[in-house]
Amino acid sequence: MTTTLEAIVGDAVKTRRPPWWLLLGLLALVAAVFLSVAFGARVVSLGEVWTALTTDSESVTSAAVRSRVPRTILAIVVGAALAVAGVVLQAVTRNPLADPFILGINSGASLLVVIGIAFFGAATMPLYIVFALAGAALAAVFVYAVGSLGVGGPTPLKLALAGAITTAAFTSLSSAILLPRIDVMRVFRFWQVGSVGRAENSDTLLVLPILLVGTVICALSARSLNILALGDEAAAGLGVHVTRVRLGAAGGAIILCGAATALAGPIGFVGLIVPHLCRQLVGADHRWLLPMSAIAGATLLTLADVVGRVLGRPDEIDVGVVTALIGAPVFLWVVLRRSGSRA
């Protein structure tokens, strides 16, 4: 049974030397990490980076390098989480345009965090996380319901529209809450654009277990997601509980989005670009696609952060803006490449 199943799935999802790509991805990530600690308002050489990280030197360069470590860690964690969530969301909704940002999941997390700050006095990371997770789940259910309206079920077009409308609706609810509260507004406007620049290692550490839970759920779904790609009926015929797999995997993705948003604010398009790129590299087998996307997502977000810091010197451009400027053209490319009838 297992062998025939593997044969079918193996046929459906072509793999192309994924281990090498995985290795290459890891090398790229290491390079990105080096760039991230070396570049900024002050550019530091390789040797100085090494000194700063291995000794407790008190020099200015060492301090600069060490101050860039938390944001680098955060970029890695958040980038990986968003990319994995993107892969899973695209598989679960069978929608090449699925992305936590496009689907409005981030906006739900933002709205509930605003509600938490304004009405429940939430001021600490654990509370942000609780509200962000609840908001992500709420928005996901809402968008899926709105996107399923009418004939034809949840098509990519309708889901994307439902996500855009939900984002607009949730954003304006946020501003209705924020407008009379200037103090909350001051805090929140920095959080509204996704950024890793205000990273604290303690916060990252706090959210890490939640992200691990989400990652494990997504990883466990990898095989089922492969079978799901054959179509609901075929998958059911092969003994997969289609609904259970969908809900489970989507739950994992929502945990990842919510926790990542609590940490860094809404960052768009990482979950869209990375899966498409990685599918070109390692094929559509989720057992390779998920780890590859995690590595590539971490690399992309780290590099985007570096780009934002270099372009915005002496200030910086928030990473959420950079990913949107890179990501929207990719979104358009996906849309325009697909034959119109399936859109």
Partner: protein, 346 residues
């Protein structure tokens, strides 16, 4: 008598009844609009009697009222009505043309272009007034042109128009968010006022900015409305009935975008009016006849009512766009429930 009726007579009778009902509802909407308009002039702090309001409107001098009603409330209410009608018309045009009730210009990128440009003018250039408004108009039209140019090759233009619009909107929104982060306190307030869509600064100049295009573009849209309702049947069928698809669509986009862009320039984006007006109007009058006039009336009513609510219903004075924006989520839920119950498509 009724037993001998032929089928075609029955159909005609039902149609007539529907058309009469639609006319009655349009008349009802118009009366409601006039009443609310009058109310918006009289109500507030202080409240004036209808007689005083009438005297101001007919050009007589009434101490106090001449300024408050004539100079403050009148331009505000006129702007609300005209901008609301513009949003309603633009929204229903896009929704009908793209055959999707979720596809309104404030969702598929056009308003977002205007927003980003206005914020750029306010935060980076330190501009105000007319520069901001003109920037918004130009950027709104340019965004629409870009979306159209990207989406309009090959088949299924409608679907791609929506998706390309969403992508562009997401990009522009992040630019807007970035500009907000780096705005200083003073610019931040002006930027927020713009972004939330407000009538607080209504002047006769602002009214002219949107009224002149309205007078030109709205009749043009009414002339196109027959073709639009044919386009609603689907591109193939419409082409078979002799509608030149591509020119018609281009013209419709141009006119609707013009209306939305000028209205946005005058008031800022009053969110969801374009999105809600069409479905509400269709729900009221049914699919008989053109949805244009009812949608314009519903749009005007929505903005006027939301502005009154925002000014007087809560402890804080909310800008009109926040009130209409907050209606967005409940309206989506209403659409959900209604489609679930009737089982029909949206």
């Amino acid at each position: 008598m009724s037993a001998n009726r032929t089928a075609s007579e029955t159909v005609r009778a039902v149609r007539l009844r529907g058309a009469r009902r639609a006319r009655l509802i349009v008349a009802g909407l118009a009366i409601a609009l006039v009443a609310l308009f009058a109310g918006s002039l009289a109500f507030g702090d202080p409240v004036y009697s209808p007689a005083d309001v009438w005297r101001v409107l007919t050009g007589q001098f009434v101490p106090g009222a001449s300024f408050i009603v004539g100079e403050l409330r009148l331009p505000r209410s006129v702007l609300a009505v005209v901008a609301g009608a513009c949003f309603g018309l633009a929204g229903v045009t896009f929704q009908t043309m793209l055959r999707n009730p979720l596809a309104s210009p404030d969702i598929i990128g056009i308003t977002n272009g205007a927003n980003a440009a206005a914020l750029f003018a306010i935060v980076v250039l330190g501009a105000s007034g007319l520069v901001v408004s003109l920037g918004a108009v130009v950027a709104g039209v340019a965004t629409a042109a870009l979306i159209y140019a990207l989406a309009s090759s090959g088949a299924a233009v409608g679907a791609r128009l929506i998706l390309v619009g969403i992508g562009i909107a997401a990009m522009l929104n992040s630019v807007t968010a970035y500009l907000l982060v780096y705005a200083n306190e003073f610019d931040l307030q002006r930027a927020m006022r713009w972004l939330n869509g407000s009538l607080n600064l209504a002047t006769w100049d602002g009214v002219a900015l949107v009224a002149v295009p309205f007078v030109v573009l709205a009749p043009a849209l009414l002339l196109l409305s027959r073709r639009l309702s044919l386009l609603r049947l689907g591109e193939d069928l419409a082409a078979g009935l002799g509608v030149p698809i591509e020119p018609t669509r281009r013209l419709l986009v141009l006119v609707a975008v013009g209306l939305a862009a000028f209205a946005t320039a005058a008031t800022g984006p009053i969110l969801f009016v374009a999105f809600m007006a069409g479905p509400i109007a269709t729900r009221l009058v049914g699919h008989r006849g053109s949805p244009m006039v009812p949608s314009a009336l519903v749009g005007a009513l929505l903005v006027l009512a939301a502005d009154l609510l925002g000014q007087y219903a809560f402890g804080t004075r909310y800008p009109v766009g926040v009130v209409t924006g907050a209606l967005g989520a409940p309206f989506l839920i209403y659409l959900l429930i209604r489609t679930q119950r009737t089982g029909g498509s949206l």
